[in-house]
């Protein structure tokens, strides 16, 4: 019953969780240059939270990233992405034509790509967590037998 039972695991996890989250943001912002982008970064960010949940319990993870936030995040990402399109419409260009976002040609494109990738990140990370919460919070309902 000692709380030091999984000491090594907890210490390693504490070291790794920020590293994984940082790597997620690296993937997010490095997407312009190398492989990666919002989809991958979103999954990696969710993995960081999942590792936290695995080590410290799903309840603790729910306190850190509450379900209402996850639910809002799923929709918020779509709103960000679609909202960029609306902004370009208001800017006088076609839907999702990022040139409307910046004075100079590449500037608008870069800003647009950055924003929509942010939307993708938000939705993907939230949905992955939603799936994890939905399944992992359940008590085992299955008979225990030898594998």
């Amino acid at each position: 019953m000692s709380s030091n039972h999984h000491l090594v695991l907890r210490v390693v996890a504490k070291l790794l969780i920020p590293a994984i989250a940082l790597f997620a943001f690296y993937v997010q912002f490095h997407g312009d240059f190398g492989p990666g982008g919002g989809f991958q970064a979103g999954v990696i960010l969710a993995v960081a939270v999942i590792l936290y949940a695995l080590i410290f319990g799903v309840d603790e993870a729910r306190r850190a990233v509450p379900p209402w936030l996850v639910r809002a995040g799923c929709a918020a990402g779509v709103l960000i992405y679609a909202g960029v399109g609306v902004a370009t419409l208001i800017g006088g260009e076609a839907y999702l034509d990022y040139d409307a976002l910046g004075p100079e040609h590449h500037h608008g494109q870069h800003l647009g790509i950055l924003l929509v990738e942010l939307g993708v990140l938000t939705t993907v990370a939230s949905v992955m967590l939603a799936i994890f919460y939905a399944f992992a919070g359940r008590a085992p309902d299955i008979p225990d037998e030898e594998w």
Partner: protein, 114 residues
Amino acid sequence: MIAAATIALIVAAVMSAARLFYGPTFYDRVLAVNSFGTKTVLFLAAFAALIGRPDAIDIALLYALINFVATIAILKFFRYRTFDVALSRMGSSAPENAGSTQQGAGAEDDGDLS
């Protein structure tokens, strides 16, 4: 040189895969999956050097980080039959309780979705 290393890694991966197929125990398989992941990480790094594209290093790095999570998940699932416990608070005697209460309760119930 690097090509030879890459081929050696492939051979090592095949050996890990064999352990993964034939078990026989659960821990053999977990270890095999984990070492298979490590082989892949190394393979990707070697391959990146081989074809002169550093992008694959990112992928190798990602695997190195994420393979750990998958292994933790597998082991925790095997030990506790649920993700809903905190490893920091769970003592060694708790899982036996968790397992035994399920034994009688759901002998014929294999999931409510079936």
